[in-house]
Symmetry: C2
């Protein structure tokens, strides 16, 4: 320790210190720093100079306490280890930083009550929240939206703005793709029951399959993890279907691994389509045909919609819904149906 380690670690400067040096009132310092056009340019410059010399950093606590705004936005994801959400997180992170907000990331562990609880606890300390793939019920969501600014991703609701990834329309492409390879039956490995996208995907498959005269079956639900893929693979195989669509890539990759173990050849014996085009889908074996979408952008858009909600004046027309396009990305896990 250097002799002056004490003094340098002493105490963080406050607006009062600045005010004293500048010979003005603290209110002026406060305004100069957070409402620049409210004070004379000369005064402001002087204050800014002193502030930077002192390495002044405003206390977000104090600021939040008196202003009511915290500058923090919570981002809730069901599973922080699912690469799909990484891209969302990256998107929200970027956009939030650009807007001067801090991101508070929370892993709700796929649990409704954790999600609800977190939201309640965080109501005070955040200005709003982005719910990615929320597991809440409509009612819970409505109640929550009443109390704090919210934007959901992949979870439509009338009570809050939503960013939707338009998977269903790409599901149609996927079925066409499979049909063109001569597949007659397809099985859907479902995700969590509480997942809204899961229902949506199945509906789309069911419908599109009917239209094309294909048989659509459904197995599951499975946890959206590679680990669950083994069970899904076995079940899928026993349906006799030659084509399968998985709730997400994680599950699909797990299935791929299981097939490999069992000596089932992909795409020779079965074709498989994932969903999300997450990290890893391009380098697994075989590379996964999947439904890609601008996930990171979805995160960005969600944040900008939230910003618009927080500040309706500058926010432009607050959109209630944004739909992100998707497309089928054909790689090597799909091929002609077995003889």
């Amino acid at each position: 320790m250097t002799p002056d380690s004490q003094s340098s670690a002493d105490r963080m400067p406050t607006i009062r210190d600045i005010a004293e040096i500048a010979g003005v009132a603290t209110s002026t310092v406060s305004r100069a720093l957070s409402n620049p056009q409210r004070v004379n340019a000369r005064t402001r410059e002087k204050i800014e100079r002193i502030a930077s010399e002192l390495h002044y950093v405003p206390s977000s606590q104090a600021r939040g306490l008196s202003s009511g705004r915290t500058g923090v936005i919570a981002v809730l994801v069901p599973d922080i280890t699912n690469p799909f959400f990484f891209d969302i997180i990256r998107g929200t992170q970027h956009q939030l930083k650009a807007s001067g907000y801090t991101q508070l990331l929370v892993d709700t562990e796929e649990a409704t009550d954790v999600e609800l609880d977190t939201l309640r606890k965080l109501r005070r300390s955040t200005d709003g929240a982005v719910l990615a793939a929320s597991r809440l019920t409509d009612q819970q969501l409505a109640d929550t939206a009443l109390r704090q600014p919210l934007v959901t991703i992949n979870r439509a609701t009338a009570d809050a703005p939503t960013v939707l990834i338009d998977t269903p329309s790409a599901v149609v492409q996927a079925l066409e793709h499979l049909a063109s390879f001569g597949h007659k039956s397809v099985v859907y490995a479902a995700g969590p029951t509480s997942s809204w996208s899961n229902h949506r995907r199945w509906k789309a498959i069911e419908e599109a399959a009917a239209k094309r005269g294909m048989t659509a079956m459904r197995i599951g639900p499975y946890a959206p993890t590679a680990f669950s893929g083994a069970a899904a693979a076995d079940a899928a195989l026993s349906t006799g279907a030659t084509a399968m669509i998985a709730f997400n890539d994680l599950l699909a990759i797990g299935m791929l691994q299981r097939f490999h173990e069992r000596g089932v050849r992909v795409p020779l014996d079965v074709s498989i389509v994932g969903c999300d085009d997450m990290f890893g889908s391009d380098f697994c074996n075989p590379p996964l045909t999947t439904i890609a979408s601008p996930v990171e952008q979805a995160g960005r858009v969600a944040v900008s919609m939230l910003m618009a909600q927080l500040d309706p004046i500058h926010g432009g027309t607050p959109r209630k819904l944004a739909v992100m396009p998707t497309h089928l990305k054909i790689r090597a896990s799909t091929g002609p149906a077995r003889g």
Copy 2:
């Protein structure tokens, strides 16, 4: 909107509301809630009951302002999209939640100045920080450690407790493994120059290779991304080495993809060893032989070391260093040397 939506969203209850109902002073409420043994059991129970009826949630802002503690720990990672850090994040997240802290995740984008800047800004609003793979210089680290409680992961320094992942010792195993396959020369695809682990790994390789009479070469630096793998692969190939070790799995997987494109067969033509055993290393093609370590646990340990630093009384003996074991995980990307 229901008629009473206004009133219910009205205002969050404060200790004053509780105090009024309970007929005590706010100080008593404060104590009952955060220093239970300081007030009579009966009074406490009454206050607790009222608090829960009111759905009281303490304002972390106000608490922080007056107590000086924030209940927030910052976790800084160089790249939030690198799966290696996912496990660290998960580890810190778990341990922090268990200790009643909130995790503030920050992506420093591999940039020293972002890291430094963040640390300065966050000094006020956090109680401490975990620096994963910090890119700071020794001096910067020392200065920072003087001002705020810190724990580093994979970045040794005398100024702060450190969690080290003992990759070097597994590197020796890796070289033995390669040597036993008849490889005579190995090339190391280096990571970022500012990465401390990078230096450490290269040192270990150099040394171990010398001891075994193998030739060790080094190429790079490369950004630790799959994308950079292409360049690394090409450069590695042109060295003529038959075995390669990559700074991390991300880079290794990128190399794998490039080899695939160029028709170089792994492990027939070249063998490749990654580092970290991150998500995806088990299902890439071929599955990657890599150096595995308990990354999530490293995150946990880092947090508990930080906790010990924050509260030296209950924290037990504050360890200054924890070394996590590693081991070579042999999969399919390594095999006999050609010829």
